[in-house]
Every structure is written in C-alpha cells, then in structure tokens.
C-alpha cells in the first residue's frame, strides 16, 4: 500500500511517508519549523509551543501532530511568527537569561531563536525570578532561573533501570525541573555531559566546564538556527 501523503505548508506542496510528525515531514522537505522542547529520539510533548502552526484555523503543535494527507498548514505567516516571537520573549522575561554570563551562550537554542526572530527587547516586563541553583550533585549544576521547563532532560536522561534523573516539581507558575537528589549524587560522567548537551539553554551545567569556545566559533554565532534544514 502506498504510504505517501501530500500536504501543504504555506502553500508549498510537500510529500512524506505516513507516520511522521509535521516537524519531521517539514524537515525532510527542507522546511524549518522552530522547536525548543522537541528532541530527536524522544517522545514529543508540546511544552514550549514554539512549533505552533495553524491547521483549519486551529492552533496545533507541529512536533506532536502527525502529518496527514491533504492538510493545509500555515507556518511562516505574520500571525504565527508573532506568536512564536512572543513565546521567546515570554521565556526570556520569566527567567534570568543574562546571556553574557551564561556558559551556553552561543550554543543556546533559546538565544538562537531570539536571534532568528530578531528580538531586540521583550514586550513583557522582566520578572527577575530567584529560584536558586542546585549545586549538590558533584558533576552537575542546575540553574533554575535559566530553566524553560522543556522536559528534554526529563525525557532523555535515565539510568539503566529507566528511572528519571530529572522531574517536574510543583505546578503552574511555580513549576520547576529538579535533579533527583539521590541519583544526582553519582550520575556518570558521560550522562552528566549528555544532560548539559541536551539542555537547550544553560540550566544544566557540567561543573568546571564553560566558556571554552571563543566567540565567533560557537554554533549559532554565524549560522542561524534551522539553516541546516532550510533549502
């Protein structure tokens, strides 16, 4: 049976195999839909809402919605672009994202998206939260004021028995992602490094590492995020 499906993104006809999400299908067709919480290999969970698109005048998240035949998707419209920019700005003001003092600067996906969407100043007032830093693990630091609660660490960093190193705590405005106090004590080196790598921002920091790449040679210094996908 033919599993090929056809749909449009901003009027461009794209074809893909059934079973892919819209983000994946778009990527295969050289179209970049921005994401933050989405992580290749992990089950998507539309937390950040960055990949918001419009189908049939309804907002959907492209990372969780399977591509279907005949869909007409709006992605880079003025409306959607402004919503995405708002979300970036919202994440900036709700944390303490002072880029010059952050180990992840230049490799940070939130920062890169702000560059892409040309954020000069957030439209929302700064909140300056004080959520503290958990430095109890010998290998990792968890800087809560930089966390965007994207769940990437929760989904990808597990021990051999499948237990999560990271988990949500509280709810609503008080939501945080915490490192398990027991498991964090002896997290293996490679897993700790992976945790830092998988974090899109500078919330998970491998201790005694940072600022080791000169400005100009970091991931997003010269190339915008998503440019590796766009044709």
């Amino acid at each position: 049976m033919d599993q090929t499906i056809k749909f449009t993104i901003d009027g461009t006809i794209v074809t893909t195999q059934k079973g892919l999400t819209i983000v994946e299908a778009a990527k295969d067709n050289g179209i970049y839909i921005p994401t933050l919480c989405n992580f290749e290999g992990a089950k998507p969970k539309g937390c950040c809402r960055m990949c918001t698109i419009k189908i049939n005048s309804r907002y959907m998240t492209a990372c969780t919605t399977p591509a279907a035949d005949g869909m007409e998707i709006e992605s880079n419209t003025e409306e959607i672009t402004d919503i995405r920019k708002s979300i970036i700005e919202l994440l900036f003001v709700s944390g303490n994202h002072f880029c010059p003092a952050c180990e992840k600067s230049g490799n940070c996906e939130l920062q890169a998206l702000a560059y892409k969407y040309q954020m000069l100043v957030p439209r929302f007032p700064f909140i300056f939260p004080q959520k503290g830093i958990d430095a109890s693990s010998p290998r990792l630091m968890k800087e809560q004021n930089r966390c965007i609660a994207c769940k990437r660490c929760i989904k990808t960093i597990k021990d051999e028995e499948g237990r999560n190193y990271f988990a949500y705590k509280n709810r609503g405005y008080a939501l945080e992602v915490i490192l398990d106090p027991e498991l964090g004590k002896d997290i293996p080196e490679d897993l700790a490094k992976l945790a830092m790598e998988n974090c899109p921002v500078g919330s998970i920091i491998y201790k005694e590492k940072g600022f080791d790449e000169p400005i100009g040679s970091r991931k997003f210094d010269k190339t915008p995020i998503g440019s590796e996908i766009e044709v």
């Binding site: 010059p100 100043v121 300056f128 010269k222």
Partner: protein, 182 residues
C-alpha cells in the same frame, strides 16, 4: 544640512558599550561630518547645552543618580536609544535583583570574603552619595525608550548602522552576525 545632535551616557554600565562605539574606527571621521556631540563622555560636555536629537543610554538604573540622568536625557532628547544588555534588561548588575538589598550590602561591606578593613562595620551613607535602589531597572521601566540595540557589548557595526539609520531616516538592516546578546 543641519548636523544631528547626539548625547550619550553610561549609567549602571561598564563603559564597554562606549568602547564598542569607538570601535567604529575610522568611520568616526564620517560620523563627525554627520553629527555633533552634546553631553557625552566622548567630548566631556557635562550638561545639556541645547536640544538633542538622539540620546544613547548605556547601563541600567541602580541608584538615584542613574534615575536623574536618565530622566534628564528623556527631557532633553527627541529619541532615546537603549544601548547594550544592561540598559535593556539590567544586565550583570541586575543579577542582584531578587536578593534583598540588605544582603547585598552586607556581602559587599561587612561579611564578604574580600572585606578586610571594615572592623567598625561602616556602611556608605554619606549624603553626597547617590541612594541605592531596591532593584536594578531596565531603562524602559523608568522612561519611555524608542529603540533598543542589544549586545554585550553591541557590535560596532550595529551601532554604526543604527546611527546612520537614525541620522538619515533610512530603514536599518539587522544582519545576523551583528545582533548578538553577548
């Protein structure tokens, strides 16, 4: 053509943005053809002597002097530009936001590891000194700001492009490489 008048200042900043300004290098000679400076550390004019077209602010507001200077810029300038991370979002000084001011002062003057010669526990309270604010404020939370140029420090090219755009009224380009937050 009348030259546009420019004023600049550094509030709670490190003068890095001004240094970056000077990094426009030889273009400064072109700039002098286009503009004249009024109150600014660049020409050392201390007070406004005429109406200013473009005021450029480096740094956020951490004390009453910052507030006073910023307000006088708003009064005397037609257009205000927040230059750099500190002016835009408080920057490094704003890392103290959320920490009670008593704790900050205690750390700086009484209990901090670098405090060595303050046996009497003196805290700066001379009335000649500006008073310290509870938080470090982004400039646009004190007065209306018209334009924002991010960076720590903003790239010289960004400053140059912005100035040319403001002086000529042309639209400004924002090339990817020049708009950065660090």
């Amino acid at each position: 053509m009348n030259k546009k008048v420019i004023a600049t200042t550094s509030l709670a900043g490190c003068f890095g943005c001004h240094m970056s300004f000077l990094d426009i290098d030889e273009r400064i000679l072109d700039l002098v053809e286009l503009v004249e400076f009024n109150k600014s550390p660049i020409d050392d004019i201390k007070v406004f002597t005429k109406r200013v077209d473009i005021g450029i602010i480096e740094g956020g507001c951490c004390n009453t002097e910052n507030i006073e200077v910023l307000k006088s810029f708003r009064e005397n300038c037609d257009v205000l530009v927040s230059l750099g991370e500190c002016a835009i979002m408080g920057g490094l000084p704003a890392l103290r936001n959320g920490i009670p001011i008593e704790e900050c002062l205690r750390e700086a003057y009484l209990d901090g590891p670098t405090v060595s010669e303050n046996k009497e526990g003196i805290l700066p309270n001379d009335e000649e000194l500006p008073m310290l604010l509870d938080n470090v404020y982004p400039c646009h939370e004190i007065v209306k700001i018209d334009y924002f140029l991010p960076g720590c420090a903003p790239r010289a090219d960004l400053i140059w492009d912005a100035l040319v755009a403001l002086v000529t009224g042309d639209e400004m380009n924002l090339p990817y490489e020049v708009v950065k937050f660090d």
